[in-house]
């Protein structure tokens, strides 16, 4: 069995655009009190960094995609984006 490469995958999870983001609103409010009136909107999300072993980028991407669907993201309210580094 050939060993794969160690790759880093970053998953960015954000609330879907149509879903209200109270944390994001709090950030906008906070920045405005500090005088940053040019801030129009903020969305708070999370980033998960994974270290995984796989043959190639395509395999990694589809694997991480599966993880997102199953566990990492709640697709009722969240979108996700995967980045393989």
């Amino acid at each position: 069995m050939t060993k794969g490469l160690i790759m880093k995958a970053r998953v960015f999870i954000t609330l879907k655009e149509e879903v209200l983001d109270p944390q994001g609103n709090a950030v906008v409010g906070g920045l405005k009190t500090l005088g940053y009136h040019n801030v129009k909107d903020a969305r708070v999300g999370k980033m998960i960094e994974l270290e995984l072993e796989s043959q190639d980028r395509e395999t990694s991407t589809s694997l991480v995609q599966e993880m997102c669907q199953k566990l990492l993201a709640n697709t009722v309210i969240e979108d996700y984006r995967i980045e393989i580094v």
């Binding site: 879903v19 209200l20 109270p22 944390q23 709090a26 566990l71 990492l72 709640n74 009722v76 309210i77």
Partner: protein
């Protein structure tokens, strides 16, 4: 009738549910450990409040993959009564047994207080003892109880009479101001289509003794007896 209370490692209302069922309702109760696939021949399952596996990723996200949940899912799909309270509600939505999802409270803060909810249906397994529009007093204690569904799904829930409770004021008025956490349409609890699975944010097990402030929670628990 035998009850089962599921215990995840960081469940913390498991004993409260056990105590209410055993000492107040005088029922037979068993704890169901999360690592076991054995439901011990119980007739009803309660998923209690707490933090299941720490809830660091998303509330209830890990719990749905536990061995006990495999059994609970098939138990529920066979039509047996299942109630998810607070974190248990979150687990049920993550497991896909109930529609929607529970987001951070609109205040972004954890909130613990007595609230009033209005019964919306008498059809569900857990609503037989209540009357429509009956106002019940029960406590909430959660950071993520802000119920969200899309408008289409909301209509579906309404059309199928799946909405169990709405947050209201003491007099039973369903108002924006009586909505503690920002839930869509003031929803405090929902059923599945079959109406054997109920998820709700308020804690009926904390409202079974007048000395604790309310006995209204008994109405729900006694509905399945």
């Amino acid at each position: 009738m035998k009850w089962g209370v599921v215990v995840f490692p960081a469940s913390n209302c498991d004993y409260d549910a056990y105590f209410a069922l055993k000492n107040i309702l005088k029922c037979e109760v068993e704890f169901l450990w999360h690592k076991e696939r054995n439901l011990k021949n119980v007739d009803v399952v309660v998923l209690p409040g707490g933090f299941s596996y720490g809830d660091y990723l998303r509330c209830g996200a890990m719990a749905r993959f536990s061995p006990v949940m495999e059994e609970v899912i098939s138990f529920a799909n066979k039509g047996h009564p299942v109630m998810g309270i607070c974190n248990g509600f979150q687990v049920l939505t993550e497991a896909g047994l109930l529609e929607g999802t529970l987001m951070k409270n609109k205040t972004l803060k954890f909130m613990c207080k007595q609230v009033w909810v209005k019964s919306q249906t008498t059809q569900g397994v857990w609503s037989h003892n209540t009357e429509k529009n009956k106002v019940l007093k029960m406590p909430i204690a959660h950071g993520e109880g802000n119920y969200f569904v899309t408008q289409e799904k909301l209509k579906e829930l309404e059309d199928n009479d799946q909405i169990a409770f709405r947050y209201c004021d003491e007099k039973g008025e369903v108002l924006e101001t009586s909505n503690p956490n920002g839930s869509v349409s003031n929803i405090a609890g929902v059923y599945n289509k079959n109406k054997n699975i109920l998820g709700l944010m308020p804690h009926p097990e904390r409202a079974c003794e007048s000395i604790l402030g309310s006995e209204d929670g008994r109405v729900l628990l006694e509905s399945v007896l």
